[in-house]
Symmetry: C2
Subunit: 365 residues, 2 copies
């Protein structure tokens, strides 16, 4: 049996708590002989800054390059508001994304029928919702230069960020979106602001070209980012796959996630290209939710998105489909059994904390 | 009685249809002697391009500078997808905003109780909703240079947009937000991505400074733009005033508008600074909705947002409070009377078209 090199980066806030539950699931898989892991663990984000003055250490980066897949908890928190910009917690995550070239961020927004009432939208609009946001993750305004603040006269300052996209960056993410659409409902909505941004104009052109070159069997629609935000709120079930840039993807995927009413349930994958020689694809899996410092350390966070991220890793990086199925079935079973953390609690259900949810999932397994 | 110089720019799509209803209301005010207008009219957007090859002519710009206020319908449409970038319909609107220095875009998202069921959100989450988005309108990625597409080798291209903010631009919009909050529920949420953008970092700093210097009686909270998008969907009533940059404001105000379920109802104002000598404040009023080319020419568009834009002009530019009150009361009366255009129609109500809604409002007046 292949041994999978897995790097755990719990990070900040509720990250360590939810990662603790993943470790129990990993142990269980190991003990049962269902999958075999070589686990490494390290710090990222504010936790790394506190320990070594950097949001990710060179050692941790080396482990990341050596790993077959990475599981990350969350980074950030008000505690680090005043650290130097280059050393802020988020810079650790951004460096992982950039250095490992994890350009394709897959963010599914699915509404579990058992949880449809937790949505702020009317049940009929979200029940059965299954949207996949494909977000470009290594380009755009996140990484473009210049990115500076300069002093002018009279105490005034000028801040600059730069959004840059080259054709190849758009081509490869468009291909990912079309390929994924073929495994789903065969529809892609591409989102930008071509009416005010040149990057949006190039985005639209290149996506259309990729579509015409090889994917005409997939339905393609272009929507402006502001319209897309509206349509997500108005009628989210019209969407199958949405492909968009780094910044719009950040906002729209959070809006889409919140529509489901179960943010604590949603895993995500950040994938690199397939490497020519090894055939390997670098990958990082993390919950869509953030570090939630307000509830950190209280044992109330929902570990399902984090455990679901492990299932995604088993499926997409390790090819361990049976193990992935088992975990996903256990999550569904636990929900059907009425177990709920605070974020998805509703009357008449059994309220559990982080480790209580972990217990329930292990019992179900 | 003062004569108000008002420039009408109907624009594209449903713009001319909804503007036609405004003209009837203006006539009514004039005939009744409730307000006196000197009306000019001109083209903007695709309509202007078709007539003179530019998205706004120099003559129209001169009229805009001479006017006390401008009413604009909407610009854009797929018909002009292939016109040169500098001449696209949106460039006309952007030039008006920039040249007149209309830096403060006020976008109220209000949920009329009679229409709460038209929202995709649960009634209790949106009933009585009253959020004001204060969007910076003359800076950021909309206008920053470089803004280019260049050819690289191998047919590859590189597109660049630049987001620039200087302190003074953030100061003046922050002040508008705090002043408006004082007339409302005294709470401002400032929204940016300081964790990835230098403009976001400067934004947060400057808003905090303006707050500390003169507005400590107003409650201030900072939210990341992605979180803000989530919170708008989860619990929109937590917000009073949201202040944000041009691009985030574009998306978040559309999301907020859609929450109300009555996009066709929402007017907006774009204001300049108060001029030293004349004491005048330049202003453009327009519906939040777009040109909606799919329903243009069918006589079904909702004219209320456009008529509400006239009411806003009467109130904020002309000081004609009585006339503004009359119009707003007529709109409320017509809704209470059960008249509905297609976009807000629900069973048991009286369905009317664009001019039918105009008739009803005039009858109510
Ligand atoms: C933590 C932050 C840098 C990050 C981002 O903006 O990409 C987060 O919001 C996300 O969506 O993964
Ligand atoms: C038409 C377009 C240029 C404009 C914008 O992006 O600002 C519109 O979406 C708006 O919000 O007024």
């Amino acid at each position: 049996m292949a041994t999978h090199k897995l790097l755990l980066l719990p990070g900040d806030g509720i990250g360590p708590e939810v990662m603790a539950e993943v470790k129990r699931v990993i142990d269980w898989l190991d003990r049962r002989g269902l999958a075999s892991f070589a686990i490494e663990e390290d710090l990222v984000g504010g936790a790394a800054y506190d320990s070594c003055g950097q949001p990710i250490s060179e050692e941790a980066m080396a482990k990341a390059f050596a790993a077959d897949a990475i599981l990350l908890g969350a980074v950030g928190g008000t505690k680090w508001t005043h650290v130097p910009y280059e050393a802020r917690p988020e810079a650790g995550l951004l460096r992982l994304r950039k250095d490992l070239q994890l350009f394709a961020n897959l963010r599914p927004a699915m509404c579990y029928p058992a949880l449809a009432d937790a949505s702020s939208l009317k049940r009929e609009l979200v029940e059965g919702l299954d949207v996949l946001i494909v977000r470009e993750l290594t380009g755009g305004v996140y990484f473009g230069e210049p990115k500076t603040i300069t002093d002018l006269s009279d105490g005034q300052k000028r801040a600059i960020d730069t959004q840059v996209y080259e054709s190849y960056e758009i081509e490869r993410i468009a291909r990912v979106a079309f390929e994924l659409a073929r495994t789903r409902r065969n529809k892609v909505v591409s989102t930008e602001k071509h009416n005010v941004m040149k990057t949006g104009l190039l985005w639209k052109q290149v996506v259309s070209e990729v579509h015409g070159s090889n994917y005409e069997d997939v339905e393609l629609e272009h929507q402006l980012a502001d319209s897309c935000g509206m349509q997500l709120v108005r009628a989210p079930k019209q969407f199958d796959v949405i492909v968009t840039d780094n910044l719009f993807g950040d906002i729209l995927s959070d809006v889409a996630a919140m529509l489901t009413g179960s943010l604590g349930m949603l895993p995500s994958a950040s994938l690199g290209g397939i490497e020519e020689v090894s055939g390997r694809r670098r990958a990082l899996y993390e919950p869509v939710h953030g570090a939630a410092p307000d509830i950190a350390g209280k044992g109330v966070a929902n570990p399902i998105a984090m455990i679901g991220s492990l299932a995604m890793a088993l499926r997409y990086s390790f090819g361990e489909l049976a193990a992935a199925d088992r975990i996903e079935a256990a999550i569904a079973g636990v929900l059907a059994g009425g177990f709920r953390t605070a974020d998805i609690y509703s009357e008449g259900k059994t309220r559990v904390g982080t480790s209580g949810m972990g217990d329930a999932i292990l019992a179900e397994l």
